[in-house]
């Protein structure tokens, strides 16, 4: 017993090092596995507050770009509105109010990162705004990611620029779909994998969201085909997609809630039983 105590006292620095290093390693490994949420994340009052202060100064520098982005989006939405077959007047009120499938909340990006291999964003909306895990996050020009952790006032987003992120996407012209992943190399280029070999892929084709995941609505623009290669097995294409939006410059985003999500999820869970 005496010897054990002596050993501990003699090697106390090394043992403390092992303990602390072990804790950090455990946290690291835990953060690399997808299905568990992390204990330690930036959706809390302290870090959220500090990021908010930084952002309140920072946002002034990008006001002009934000304005241009809004005008561009307004223009696009007006075009859709004025060219739609049904005019505004004939659209019945009930279908707008009761049949609403997606609820949209706007949010401000407090922190964005794109230089790591697993990137996360922090937003200024949380539980008290009705934000929950697995809601989609989009931008006027494309997809941003999926809500990962929420606290009372803040939430973190698993960015599409994250090796753990997989998003259902498809070719705009046909219904051939695949998974949108990121290889960690460039924040402009993502990879669409597992696309069937029968798909007619051409460089310059548009890639949109697939709408199979109950997170994102169908048809959100993502990017264009940069180039494509046949997979090692030879059965599928791997497509490099150049994103429409600049992931390095994001100010305001929209959070999408699919109100049918619970129902779809229940149905799918029944299948697995």
């Amino acid at each position: 017993m005496q010897q054990i105590i002596n050993f501990v006292i003699r090697n106390k620095t090394f043992l403390l090092f092992l303990l602390l290093f072990g804790i950090s390693l455990a946290l690291t490994i835990q953060s690399h596995s997808y299905h568990r949420s992390r204990f330690i994340n930036s959706a809390n009052a302290v870090t959220g507050g500090i990021y908010g202060t930084i952002n309140s100064v920072d946002q002034y520098f990008s006001l002009k770009q934000e304005n241009e982005l809004l005008i561009e989006e307004n223009k696009r939405l007006k075009e859709v509105l004025f060219n739609s077959k049904e005019s505004l007047a004939t659209g019945t009120k009930d279908s707008i109010l009761d049949g609403k499938k997606y609820r949209i909340t706007s949010a401000e990006v407090y922190k964005n990162s794109y230089s790591l291999t697993n990137n996360y964003l922090t937003l200024n909306k949380g539980n008290k705004d009705g934000i929950k895990r697995d809601f989609g996050v989009i931008h006027p020009k494309g997809i941003i990611g999926i809500i990962d952790n929420t606290s009372n006032g803040y939430s973190t987003v698993l960015s599409i620029l994250n090796k753990k992120s997989r998003i259902n996407a498809k070719l705009k012209a046909t219904n051939h779909f695949g998974s949108l992943t990121w290889n960690g190399a460039s924040p402009d280029i993502m990879q669409l994998i597992d696309v069937s070999k029968f798909a007619p892929v051409k460089v310059g084709d548009t890639i949109v969201s697939g709408g199979q995941s109950a997170i994102f609505p169908k048809g959100i623009q993502i990017g264009t085909v940069e180039n494509f290669t046949t997979d090692v097995g030879g059965d599928t294409y791997t497509i490099d997609v150049r994103l429409f939006n600049d992931m390095t410059n994001i100010g305001k985003v929209y959070i999408i809630e699919n109100t049918d999500r619970e129902e779809i999820k229940q149905l799918e869970d029944k299948l697995n039983e």
């Binding site: 950090s24 390693l25 990021y51 922190k111 924040p187």
Partner: protein, 168 residues
């Protein structure tokens, strides 16, 4: 003693804020960021207890991890750096360290650079290995380690020199 403790706490907070507000947003050439918060571990007084240094380093790394949503990556590399610090000090300062008379205010610039550079390299190698966490990404790890280390070393030495002049 109390004023020294206060100074350390202020240094800790300022370094974390500088790291989070400024240095994480540099993204030089797309992905190179300096991690200057490790200056705190470099400049921690030598005579103080090593156990305290280990604990404080862990806390420092954890704080950065919380801001960056990176699990325990920074905590692990900071603890490793804190643990290997005596070896580094002996390597860079030799006799001066043996006599317990290293003072960070007035140092030979050569020894300071070797101390900071080797320490940074150890920290960053651990950091990027854990961050990428994949053997097939070994080239990416080495590339990021090299470039970020150069950047961190330059910025860290500039900061150390800048602030030690004032203290005299």
């Amino acid at each position: 003693m109390n004023s020294a403790l206060g100074l350390h706490i202020i240094q800790f907070i300022l370094l974390v804020l500088a790291q989070v507000a400024i240095f994480n947003n540099i993204n030089f050439l797309g992905y190179i960021n300096p991690y200057i918060y490790i200056i705190f571990i470099f400049l921690f007084p030598i005579k103080d207890n090593r156990l305290i240094l280990l604990l404080v380093s862990f806390l420092l790394g954890m704080t950065i991890d919380t801001f960056l949503d990176s699990g325990g990556v920074h905590a692990a590399s900071s603890v490793l750096l804190a643990y290997s610090r005596p070896v580094l000090l002996k390597f860079s300062f030799g006799m001066l360290y043996e006599h317990q008379s290293v003072k960070f205010n007035n140092l030979e610039i050569g020894s300071l650079i070797s101390y900071v550079a080797v320490g940074t390299l150890i920290h960053h190698l651990m950091l990027f290995s854990l961050e990428i966490f994949n053997i097939s990404g070994i080239w990416l790890i080495l590339k990021k380690t090299l470039f970020s280390s150069i950047f961190t070393t330059i910025v860290a030495i500039l900061i150390i020199i800048l602030f030690s002049q004032n203290r005299k």
